[in-house]
Amino acid sequence: MQVPAPFEYERATSVDQAIGLLERLGSSARLVAGGHSLLPMMKLRLANFEYLIDINPLHAELGYIRSGSDEVRIGALTRHRELLESDELAAAFPIFRDAERVIADPVVRNRGTLGGSLCQADPSEDLSAVCTTLDASCVIRGPGGAERVVTMKEFHVGPYETAVGDGEMLTEIRLPLRSGGGSAYEKVERRAGDWAVVSAGAAVWLAADGTIADARVGLAAVGPNTTGIPEISAALRGHEPAEELYQEAGAIAARSCDPATDTRGSADYKRHLADELTRRTLRKAVQRARS
């Protein structure tokens, strides 16, 4: 049996109390939410923290999906299962349900959270790609209730590294609502529940005349970071949706990414998938935007 090194554990009673603890304990402390990445890493002793602050008691406060007129706000402690089952979220952003259906398994989805996924910042992480695709912003709260809002690009500093500081906590993710939108997610995995070999998300917003007002594509597992590809957005904007356009976007995706060969697949294959999945998701996103 794998067992972690000694650590101390405290259950959080409020967001500010948790932040207070983080501020006091510094980098020797870590928040635990669903725990499905952190605890295996601790058991393998790849991560050794002296203190764990369990924020699961804050689920009533930080587990929510709220639709406003111009954005959807999701609490950082909202669990995968809640994201998967939310009809409200699926109606606004079908990409979420597409992605949640292929994330891990029901046991993990019952515990894992949106905030935990983003803060883990694994380059193969699906929800980071989803949030990037949807141009999400992240609310980070610090000591004394101070809040700052950052873009996904700012949030992702590097592999397993985010903009969240030692005394801070990700509390909310905000997704802008725009008219004429459609979105989709596709993932190639070696087996159900595996990390992505490559996955891609696409979102398009159609103008009244049927042309593409805006479009975004986010890829996972093809480089050190999950990032959007501005060149694709630029290539699609203002054009009538068409197969040749998706092909062009796919080609841009393939040459913009930086995959590595590993046991999940060769770099060439991953580059091919970036192309293939970009085309597939754009096609589906446009279909959904039209319907």
């Binding site: 049996m1 794998q2 090194a5």
Partner: protein, 797 residues
């Protein structure tokens, strides 16, 4: 001779209607296992028990310069820290493997694979033991490793086994079978010759329960009690006696409930020996339970054969000869568990189910800086590799001849009147009737319609593949005249006692790891003496409670121990008949047996039941002259031959042309394992084996980087399939009883694992035909399939 199944409706009889004998019934062990009331090694708790953790090598090949254990010894809760040097003083640093090699218990000189055992800590709890491991300071002098098996015999290759006197290279053994010259002559006159390099990569059985042990050495009694995850408790007891010098009657090995074995729990691992030493050193019971990574990186792997296959045939598709050259990677120590005269296991059955004129195999086995093992993962002693080779190369021939692969197989089958059939490599197939089995699978699949559908799909650019494999297995090792493991004959004992009230206890030498022995063996006894299975207790897994025998692996339990059970029941029945004749006051010859009672011939009303006989056997009053009281018997069964189950498997896959993902859409498995004792258990075993096959064909592989780091060290990296990767299995059966087995049964536990990988690979290759693909090696991950579609299929190693 061969019965073909009737169309059937599957019913799961509940235990209120369970058969007295053969038939479908729920498993007797399941209420315990399904309610979480099983008792596994890690459930064993003893007073004062300590916990053991093992320090493992981070390097594949390195000399140990020094080990400093002082900080670990000072850590709170630590009771003992033991290194290889300390074991060497006790003469226990090395132990024999099951293949007459030696393996380090704890490394003294060098580490030879990543994950090798270097030292162990015994502490009050497993946390303290694990914490203290990090305080052991080992200085290593890192050496170049041998990772690429093809370079292991190069003159410049680093020498791994410098512990073996006079060893100057990494050669492990050579082995050959068949006739080289005759085969060459047949090849010389053949119309068509097809060659293909076929790799069966290294995989791992990954049982749900990892390996572990609880050792309790009683210094006063001088007795060692060892609970361990073993498939072969008696063989282990004898080996501990030899290794540790403890008298055999003072060793009790207990295999409690085992959470899957698949051959992973046949060898003796250093951890077991460490637990024993830990208990002797501390005077306390010691538990060692490896974690998932330890299991994957250090315990018995499977396969790892690089095979050059060659097949010779006439233009019209008559197979003439098969030849193969194999390079076998045995890891750092030859830890193969196989009968000693069979260093390559039963690979010699690579001629498959076909009547051919000549065959030859030349094999070279080498050492590399990888974990030892080789025979595991339901391989039937390397028949997985043999069947994969022949079924893949036959498909290559079909492609070359532009012939339907089903037709090619049907044309070349050994015919029913040829059995017993001696193959060109000397194996005597006991029985078989292949065509009905093949035809049934084709009917169930709707083979002709599938081919039509495939043609239509191809025209639309869709990729659909149909793959066939037809296998013959050789299971039930084995006749003691030529099969033994380290000098222990492969026979099995069995004891049966019927209690006065007609309930019974049967004691087996084999040990279930999930196969359902408590049900199957009760049914075998029930069939023979008419006592309901619920009234028969099956005792197994405890060397103090059961007769000697070699354990459960290689699908040998039913062929060997199952025969012993049937014969011991017949002995009891014979004695019951003597007693019945006295009870009914007629001669033995005047009695007739119907299941559960003897009656006077011609007068069914005049009868005594087995229960009444049991009471009489133990009761008051005289018994016939020469008949002792009690109703029990024992036997040791030596099989006269192996049993040869066969089967026809058909797999249908769809491949996404854009992503190269393979979806197994259908899988039809028709098995012939002779007499079927419990069809539900057989189907369960087949379902499990087919799932294994999907794993190996599509995703499983233990690979290494060039430094020898294992890249499959967790279940995140080493993928095993889930319910989502498999279709609804379509199973069928034919029945060709074994002529020499008392109830005609053949082993079935490994048939599906052996037979399914080639069907799946053949299906994928068939799907990729429009891309000109003739062969692609496992695992057929999306990336590797995409490589094949783009004309650059490469071996996985």
């Amino acid at each position: 001779m061969t019965a073909v199944q009737e169309p059937k409706t599957v019913t799961f009889d509940d235990n209120d209607q369970k058969p007295v004998g053969f038939g479908r019934m729920l498993r007797k062990e399941d209420p315990r296992l399904l309610r979480g009331r099983g008792r596994f090694v890690d459930d064993i708790q003893l007073n004062g028990m300590l916990h053991l953790a093992i320090l493992r090598s981070p390097f594949a090949h390195a000399r140990i310069v020094s080990i400093d254990t002082s900080a670990a010894e000072a850590y709170p809760g630590v009771r003992a820290v033991v290194t290889g040097a300390a074991l060497a003083e006790l003469g226990l640093a090395w132990m024999p493997t099951l293949s007459n090699d030696v393996q380090a218990v704890l490394a003294t000189d060098k580490v030879r694979f990543q994950g090798q055992e270097v030292a162990f800590v015994v502490a009050d709890d497993r946390y303290a033991a694990r914490d203290a491991l990090e305080l052991i300071d080992v200085e290593y002098d890192v050496l170049d490793p041998v990772i690429d098996v093809r370079k292991a015999l190069a003159p410049e290759a680093p020498l791994i086994r410098d512990d073996l006197e006079g060893k100057a290279d990494n050669h492990c053994f050579d082995w050959e079978t068949g006739d080289a010259d005759e085969t060459e002559a047949v090849f010389a006159r053949a119309d068509v010759i097809v060659k293909e390099d076929i790799v069966y990569p290294r995989v791992h059985p990954a049982p749900m329960e990892t390996c572990g042990a609880v050792a309790d050495f009683d210094a006063v009694e001088g007795k060692l009690k060892l609970w361990s995850t073993t498939q072969a408790p008696h063989a282990h007891r004898t080996l501990y006696a030899i290794v540790a010098g403890l008298p055999e009657h003072k060793i009790q090995v207990i295999a409690p409930d085992i959470g899957g074995g698949f051959g992973n729990k046949v060898p003796i691992y250093p951890g077991y020996v460490c637990a024993i030493v830990g208990s002797i050193v501390t005077g306390k019971p010691v538990k060692w339970m490896e974690d998932r990574s330890e299991n994957l990186i250090s315990t018995g792997f499977a396969r790892d054969y690089i095979m050059r296959g060659e097949i010779a045939a006439t233009r019209d598709g008559k197979i003439l000869a098969i030849r193969t050259n194999v390079l076998a990677d045995h890891g750092a120590f030859n830890g193969t568990a196989a009968p000693v005269k069979y260093p390559a296991g039963f690979f010699g059955v690579f001629t498959g189910s076909y009547d051919i004129e000549a065959a030859y195999c030349k094999m070279t086995a080498v050492y590399t800086n990888k974990a030892p093992g080789g025979v595991a993962y339901a391989c039937s002693f390397r028949i997985t590799e043999a069947v994969y080779l022949v079924e893949r190369i036959v498909d290559c021939l079909a492609a070359e001849l532009d012939m339907d692969p089903a037709e090619l197989r049907l044309k070349n089958f050994i015919q029913p009147d040829q059995f017993p059939y001696e193959t060109k490599t000397g194996w005597v197939y006991d029985s078989g009737n292949y065509e009905p089995t093949m035809r049934l699978a084709m009917d169930m699949a709707g083979y002709a319609d599938l081919r039509k559908e495939q043609e239509e799909k191809r025209a639309r650019g869709e990729l659909m593949g149909i793959g066939i494999s037809f296998f013959t297995e050789a299971v039930g090792a084995g006749p003691r005249k030529n099969m033994d493991i380290l000098g222990l004959g492969m026979a099995d004992g069995c004891e049966l006692r019927v209690h006065p009230t007609g309930k019974a206890v049967v004691r087996l030498s084999v040990k279930t790891q999930g196969q359902g022995h408590e049900t199957t063996f009760a049914q075998i006894i029930a069939e023979e003496i008419g006592i309901p299975p619920a009234d028969i207790e099956v005792v197994h897994g405890d060397t103090d409670q059961t007769p000697f025998g070699l354990g459960t692996y290689g699908s040998r339990s039913t062929p060997v121990s199952g025969a012993a059970a049937a014969l011991v029941a017949r002995k009891v029945r014979d004695k019951a008949q003597l007693i019945a004749s006295a009870m009914l006051e007629v001669t033995v010859a005047d009695l007739e047996w119907t299941k559960g009672s003897f009656h006077v011939k011609g007068d069914p009303g005049k009868a005594v039941t087995i229960q009444e006989i049991a009471m009489r056997a133990h009761g008051a009053g005289d018994l016939p002259d020469g008949v002792e009281g009690g109703l029990e018997a024992q036997i040791c069964y030596n099989p006269s031959n192996l049993t040869y189950p066969h089967g026809a498997y058909i797999c249908v896959v769809d491949v996404d042309p854009g992503t190269a993902q393979v979806k197994v859409r259908r899988f039809i498995a028709v098995d012939d394992c002779g007499t079927r004792i419990n069809p539900m258990i057989i189907e369960g075993q087949v379902h499990g084996g087919l799932t294994d096959g999907v794993g190996m064909a599509l995703m499983e592989m233990i690979s290494f980087d060039e430094d020898g780091n294992c890249l499959g060290a967790s279940l995140m990296d080493y993928l095993i399939p889930t319910a989502l990767e498999v279709p609804d299995w379509e199973t069928g059966y034919t029945v060709t009883p074994s002529p020499h087995h008392p109830i005609g049964a053949k082993g079935v536990g490994e048939s599906a694992t052996v037979g399914s990988p080639p069907a799946i690979v053949n299906a994928v290759v068939d799907a990729l035909k429009p891309y000109g693909v003739r062969h692609a090696d496992m695992p057929l991950t999306p990336s590797r399939v995409w490589d094949a579609m783009n004309g650059r299929a490469t071996p996985p190693i």
